[in-house]
């Protein structure tokens, strides 16, 4: 009845689709210099070449290869999203764990802070941060991490709070286990699956935020990204709509895949939800 975790995950057709597409994107990002023009900003042909002609996916207004842009954009977008998410998970996880484990005033204080960051309009705050720090890959990462840690903190706090009142944790306390050991040995292994699920879904949100920032022209300069490509193609929507459509589809499919895999992870890691 309980099949291995991986089988359960791959047996889900939605998850299988997501895993295949994500695999392709990651592969393209890793092998970018091998499968495309080394510099996505280099002019490779005449401007506005239509896609599926002699120049792959076509060229933009300056004659830059759309294929190159896509492949190198995958690098930028994935890297920024993953690093930002990892930072958010680390920070949010720490805040949530401390709040849930120690409770009382520490919990009050940290949760007020979390609520505050959830209340303020996060995207406008991210814009402000990037603008104030002046646009660069680092400031985009900082901005995305700063606005996306609160959900992680809430999830982790909730998990720690319930686990902390579970009897096996109480038993560890009565055996004289130290706080750090209780957090690492008793609570963390049991809180891992919701953390993984929330974290993976957060990568999708981070990609959307990064794309929106790049679209507004606040992305990392000198780094090709999907949002930037949409933003640059925007002025030529009437005549060269594919410049907008193609990178947008790439974003859509990638975010969709991550969401599908995240949901499948959730189903696979919480077997009790499977019985209909």
């Amino acid at each position: 009845m309980t099949r291995p975790f991986w089988i359960r995950l791959v047996a889900n057709p939605r998850a299988a689709f997501g895993l295949v597409w994500l695999g392709l994107v990651v592969l393209a990002a890793l092998a970018a210099p091998l499968i495309a023009q080394a510099d996505p900003f280099a002019i490779t042909g005449s401007p506005f070449a239509r896609p599926f002609g002699e120049s792959g996916l076509g060229t933009d207004s300056l004659g830059r290869s759309v294929w190159s842009g896509l492949v190198f954009g995958a690098r930028t977008t994935l890297l920024i999203a993953v690093i930002a998410t990892l930072s958010a998970v680390a920070f949010g996880g720490l805040v949530g764990a401390l709040a849930g484990f120690y409770g009382g005033r520490i919990d009050d204080l940290l949760m007020r802070l979390t609520e505050f960051f959830q209340t303020i309009p996060s995207f406008i705050f991210a814009i402000l941060l990037v603008a104030m720090l002046s646009p660069s890959a680092t400031s985009v990462v900082v901005a995305i991490a700063t606005v996306s840690w609160p959900p992680i903190a809430r999830v982790v706090r909730g998990e720690v709070l319930t686990l902390r009142s579970r009897e096996f944790v109480q038993a560890a306390i009565t055996l004289g286990e130290r706080d750090a050991a209780i957090l690492l040995r008793q609570i963390l292994p049991n809180a891992l699956s919701p953390l993984i699920v929330t974290g993976s879904l957060l990568v999708a949100t981070a990609i959307l935020t990064e794309s929106a920032l790049s679209f507004l022209g606040l992305g990392a300069p000198n780094l090709m990204s999907w949002g930037f490509m949409v933003g640059a193609g925007r002025s030529f929507l009437r005549d060269a709509w594919w410049l907008v459509a193609i990178p947008g589809v790439a974003i859509l499919l990638t975010v969709l895949s991550i969401n599908l895999v995240g949901e499948a992870l959730n189903d696979a890691l919480n077997p009790r939800l499977r019985t209909p």
Partner: protein, 329 residues
């Protein structure tokens, strides 16, 4: 009796909002310190535009030669007196600029709120009633795709299809300014302009509420009180409308409150795409004019807006759920 308690509750929530507003001001102040150069040049609009006398006056007013805490105090005082400064880029006080752009944003947000929450509740309920049929699967697939679609991209695609190719809707703006419409004609014109931006901004939230509503209705359908209702001999229709619906609305209301801030963020993107003359577009323009003081003002006022909408959502929640204790015994 209940009414006065509700007012007390609203007052309490308002008091609890004070630290949030103060927090935003402090955050603004910290952001000012982050920016390259001295705060006065930032406030005056970087890269010039303001006369040197004004910059000097700003220095004195914000006590930039004073210790940090005094600076913070002066900054707090100015913001709380709603003195958000003057934008030399636009030759107008920041507050006036913002208030002028506030109502188009409110219009867009309101329309989006109604479409996404209302639509999400209805579609999610239908999906749950049709659970595991092709209709349910179709709704789920569309929702999961809409949930992954970047706002700016779907906006451009809608313009491409419905404005450029089909010519059903205008590509940008809030009204046809040269037509000088008045009365109903103007309202219809604005509504016509409102359609595409609202759909663009709603799509993601529509998907979000649909999925949430479907999940909670299914969860509530398994609850024991539903078995009780069935054991009373009620029809399935009555059980759904009278028992399940209200219980399932509670998480949706909570989520709607949580999402207000994100909705405002989304409107920045949508307003930029559709040249909708609201706060978001103003933010985008000030970004490129490097008019940071205006940007900070927009951030401050939009945070206040979120706090107010959250307050309204809280009051609605209390009206829906008798378990929330309003005030003391």
């Amino acid at each position: 009796m209940h009414g006065t308690r509700l007012v007390r509750y609203a007052l309490l929530r308002l008091l609890q909002a004070v630290p949030v507003v103060l927090g935003v001001v402090v955050l603004n102040f910290l952001l000012l310190q982050l920016a390259p150069g001295d705060a006065a040049t930032v406030l005056a609009g970087e890269a010039g535009g303001a006369p040197p006398e004004y910059v000097a006056e700003l220095r004195a007013r914000f006590g930039l030669d004073q210790p940090m805490l005094v600076q913070l105090g002066l900054y707090l005082k100015n913001i709380l007196l709603l003195d958000l400064g003057y934008s030399f880029r636009n030759s107008a006080p920041v507050l006036d600029l913002i208030l002028e752009r506030l109502w188009p944003t409110l219009l867009l947000m309101g329309a989006t709120f109604v479409l996404s929450v209302g639509g999400g509740v209805v579609v999610g309920l239908l999906a749950a009633l049709w659970v595991r049929t092709w209709r349910d699967h179709l709704i789920s697939v569309v929702a999961v795709i809409a949930y992954a679609t970047p706002l700016f991209w779907i906006g451009l695609m809608l313009i491409l299809v419905f404005s450029i190719w089909l010519d059903w809707f205008p590509t940008s703006g809030m009204e046809d300014v040269v037509a000088f419409n008045e009365g109903w004609a103007r309202i219809i014109d604005i509504a016509h302009h409102l359609v595409l931006p609202t759909i663009t901004l709603s799509l993601f939230y529509l998907a979000l509420y649909t999925r949430l509503m479907r999940a909670t209705v299914l969860e509530q359908r398994g609850a024991e009180y539903v078995t009780t209702a069935r054991a009373k001999g009620l029809t399935e229709g009555r059980i759904t409308m009278r028992h399940i619906l209200r219980n399932a609305l509670l998480p949706v209301v909570t989520m709607a409150g949580v999402q207000v801030g994100a909705l405002l963020g989304g409107s920045v993107v949508v307003e930029t795409v559709f040249a909708w003359p609201g706060l978001g577009q103003l933010a985008f323009q000030s970004l490129f004019a490097r008019d940071f003081n205006l940007l900070l003002g927009i951030f401050f006022l939009s945070a206040c807006l979120v706090v107010i909408v959250n307050l309204m959502v809280d009051v609605i929640y209390v009206l829906l759920d008798p378990r929330i204790r309003v005030g003391g015994a």
